[in-house]
Amino acid sequence: MICLSHLHKSFGKSEVLHDISAEFADGAVTAILGPSGSGKSTLIRCINGLEEVTEGDITVNGLSVRSRRRLGEIRRQCAMVFQQFNLYPHLSVMANITLSPMKVLRRGRDEAEAKAMALLQQVAMTDKASSYPSELSGGQQQRVAICRALAMEPAYVLLDEVTSALDPEMTAEVLDTIEALARAGTTMLMVTHEIAFAQRICEHVAFLDEGRLVAHQPAASFFGAGQDERINRFLARMAH
C-alpha cells in the first residue's frame, strides 16, 4: 500500500502540491488525472524519491520516503516508466532490461536474460533484443522501457504520461501493453491524458487541480455525472 499523508511539495516559493492525503491499495489500477500543471507528475515522482517531499510523508509498504536509507528499498519496489522513455542509448535492449536486475537485485546474467526474453515476448519484441534504442521507434522504445521496469518485479508500477510523447499510431501499441498489465493484476499509478483509456481500465481515479486532491474515488462514480464543477469542466475539455 502507498500512503500519502498531508503531503506538501514546493519548488522554492511555489507550492506545487498542497496537503495531499490518499491511500493506494495493492492490486488496483489508479489513474491520476488533472489539468496541466496540477502537480500530477510531481506527485508520483515524490513517491519514488525523484522529488523531495517538503512537508508530510509518503510510505510505501510502511517504508518512508523521508528516510534516505529506505529510499533504495522503495525504489526497488516502485518501477517507473517515463514520458521520454529514458532508455540507455549506449546499451542494447537486452542490456537495458537486465542492468538493474543484475546490479540491484544481484541476479545472475542467465537468469536476468531469460526473464528479459520472457518480457520481450509479452510485447512481441524478442527480435529486437540486440538492437539499440536509436534503432527503434518511439512506441518500441516505450515498450522496452516497460519491460525494463517489469524486470525488477516491482510491487508498484508508476507511469508518468507514458504515451504523451508518442503519435497516435504508436500510442495504441503501448496502451495495449499497459492494458495487459492491468488485467494481470499489477498495481499501477498512471498519470495520463488518455481519458478514454483510463475510463476503460482503471478502477480508481485521483483528480488533481492546482496541487490539491479534488477527488479520489472509484472510476465508475468519477466518470458519472454530477461531479465537482472542476471535474466536469476538465472532462468536457478533454473530450475534444
Binding site: 519514488n48 525523484l50 533504495g72 525504489r75 526497488r76 516502485c78 518501477a79 517507473m80 517515463f82 521520454q84 529514458n86 532508455l87 540507455y88 542509448p89 549506449h90 542492468l99 538493474s100 546490479k103 540491484v104 534504442p133 536509436s134 527503434l136 521507434s137 518511439g138 522501457a145 525494463r148 521496469a149 525488477m152 510523447a165 508518442l166 503519435d167
Partner: protein, 229 residues
C-alpha cells in the same frame, strides 16, 4: 682559432633538433596523461559535490585557467625555492606545472561532459534502485566519455604548442634547441622556420586526429540527434 666555423650549421645540429623534439614529446605526453587523470579526479569530486574537495577544485581550476602558463612555470621553478626551499630540476618543474595546468582545463571538459548527459538518464537509473556509483559506472560515464574526446584532442593540440614555454626554465626542448642554435649561428630566419616545422610536424597529426574523432563520433546517442519519433 676559427670562430667562423661555429656560426655554421653542422650535422650535429640535426641531432640536437631531434633530441629537442624528443624532450618536447616527452613533456607533452606525460603532462597530457597526468593532466587527464587529474582532471578526471577533480571533475568527479566537483560533480559529486564532495564537501571541501569540490570548493578546492573550483579554486584550483579558476587559478590555473586564468593565469599565463609562463607565470605558472616561473612560480614553480623560481618561486618554490624561495618560498618553500624546494628546488626542482627543470624537467620536474615543467612536468609538474604542465600537468597541473592541463588538469585544470580537463576538469572543465569532463565536468561539462558529465552535465551534458540528460537528467532523464540519472532519473531512470536511480529510480530503478542503482546507487550513485553504479549509475556513474554503467550509465553516465560511458555516455560522457564520448563527449570529452573532441575537446580533449583540441586541448592537446594547444598544450603541445604551450610546451615550448618550458624552454624558458632551462628544459632543452625543441624551442630551447632553437634558442641555442640561434645564439650560436645568429641566423633566426634559418633556425626558427625549422623549429616551427618541427612543431607543425608534431601538431598536424593531432589536428587530423581531432577531425577524424569529430567525424567518427557523430552522436550515436539518440538524445543528441534529436528523437527518432
Amino acid at each position: 682559432m676559427d670562430l667562423y666555423q661555429y656560426t655554421q650549421f653542422t650535422s650535429q645540429d640535426a641531432w640536437l633538433l631531434l633530441r629537442g623534439i624528443g624532450w618536447t614529446v616527452l613533456v607533452f605526453a606525460v603532462s597530457m596523461a597526468t593532466g587527464i587523470a587529474l582532471g578526471a579526479a577533480c571533475a568527479l569530486a566537483r560533480h559529486a559535490r564532495v564537501p571541501v574537495l569540490a570548493q578546492l577544485v573550483t579554486g584550483y581550476v579558476e587559478l590555473f585557467r586564468n593565469s599565463p602558463v609562463l607565470v605558472q612555470l616561473f612560480l614553480v621553478y623560481y618561486g618554490l625555492p624561495m618560498l618553500a626551499g624546494v628546488r626542482l630540476e627543470p624537467l620536474t618543474a615543467a612536468l609538474l606545472t604542465l600537468s597541473v595546468n592541463t588538469g585544470a582545463f580537463m576538469t572543465v571538459i569532463i565536468h561539462a561532459a558529465l552535465d551534458a548527459v540528460p537528467a532523464g538518464q540519472w532519473e531512470a537509473a536511480m529510480a530503478s534502485g542503482l546507487r550513485y556509483r553504479q549509475v556513474m559506472r554503467y550509465v553516465v560515464l560511458p555516455q560522457a566519455v564520448r563527449t570529452t574526446i573532441p575537446p580533449t584532442i583540441s586541448l592537446a593540440v594547444g598544450q603541445l604548442q604551450v610546451t615550448s614555454l618550458v624552454s624558458l626554465i632551462n628544459v632543452v626542448d625543441l624551442a630551447k634547441v632553437g634558442t641555442i642554435l640561434n645564439m650560436r649561428t645568429l641566423r633566426p630566419f634559418a633556425v626558427w622556420p625549422v623549429v616551427g616545422l618541427g612543431y607543425f610536424a608534431l601538431s598536424k597529426p593531432l589536428s587530423l586526429l581531432a577531425q577524424w574523432a569529430e567525424d567518427r563520433l557523430r552522436p550515436r546517442n539518440a538524445w543528441m540527434r534529436g528523437d527518432r519519433n
